[in-house]
């Protein structure tokens, strides 16, 4: 009696029919969302015997794709926490912080944000951006005012050697203090 068991169909994908590079490529195709039928078609072009078992690719996914997906997802969650914490927004309340972290995680994980969350997140980002722009404008305005003040003094001091020298020393001292 022949006691040899027929090898499981999915052992083909882990065996010699595929090189390591091809196995990685199959893994990446599945992770990118390729359908099982597309993958089977691709395997056929490589000369791999036809896979008839309906769970073969599901088992391949669990062995090869799931660990990668789990690692990526864990990383996305950690990265989202770090990104938002590093932004250092002291003006955000807990709810805003949580929304920003959750939206960031879903984006990093490649998920599709639902419309309401996408809109709320965009508003937070745009508001934060507008606040940064305002801060920059205020600084520039202050700088302009200072320059305008010095120009007016320079005009007044024209022709007066002592006044011009004093003004030059003052400007030098202010610039030194700023640097």
């Amino acid at each position: 009696m022949n006691n040899e068991r027929k090898p499981r169909a999915d052992s083909i994908l882990d065996g010699d029919a595929l090189s390591d590079a091809q196995r990685d490529e199959l893994r990446d195709k599945l992770l990118a969302g390729a359908s099982h039928s597309d993958c089977k078609e691709w395997l056929r072009t490589l000369g791999v015997p036809e896979i008839k078992g309906k769970d073969t690719l599901t088992r391949f996914w669990r062995r090869h794709c799931l660990p990668v997906r789990e690692s990526n997802r864990r990383f996305s969650a950690a990265k989202a926490e770090a990104l938002i914490d590093e932004a250092g927004r002291t003006d955000w309340n807990t709810a805003t912080m949580e929304l920003a972290k959750q939206a960031s995680f879903e984006i990093l994980d490649g998920q599709q944000l639902d419309p309401k969350m996408a809109l709320s997140f965009l508003k937070i980002v745009l508001k934060a951006d507008a606040q940064e722009t305002d801060k920059t404008k205020v600084k520039a305005l202050a700088k302009d005012k200072a320059a305008a003040g010095i120009d007016a003094l320079a005009e007044e001091a024209k022709g007066n050697y002592e006044a011009e020298a004093a003004l030059a020393a003052y400007v030098k001292a202010i610039r030194k203090k700023k640097s």
Binding site: D55, T58, E70, E81, K101, Q102, F105, Q111, D114, P115
Partner: protein, 76 residues
């Protein structure tokens, strides 16, 4: 197949973040669970009564996160 444990394990990966119902359902099915959305909701409702998950129902999506009690259950 212990669906409650599978749900908690999927949520533990992203803690303290949440997973949407659709992503969680997709994950469970990929792991071989023959589970419908109704089944998933029944399991998460049970987990919520045990305070092991929190379910947040939004306008567009329902999200679920694991709680400290849920993490403790996995650690047992």
């Amino acid at each position: 197949m212990n669906y409650e444990r599978l749900i908690l394990e999927a949520l533990q990966l992203v803690h303290p973040r949440m997973l949407t119902e659709s992503v969680l359902l997709s994950d469970l099915r990929i792991m071989g669970a023959k589970i419908s959305l109704t089944d998933l909701r029944a399991h998460t409702a049970r987990l919520e009564t045990k305070s092991q998950v929190t379910v947040v129902t939004g306008e567009d999506a329902t999200r679920i996160k694991i709680t400290p009690d849920g993490l403790a259950r996995l650690a047992e």
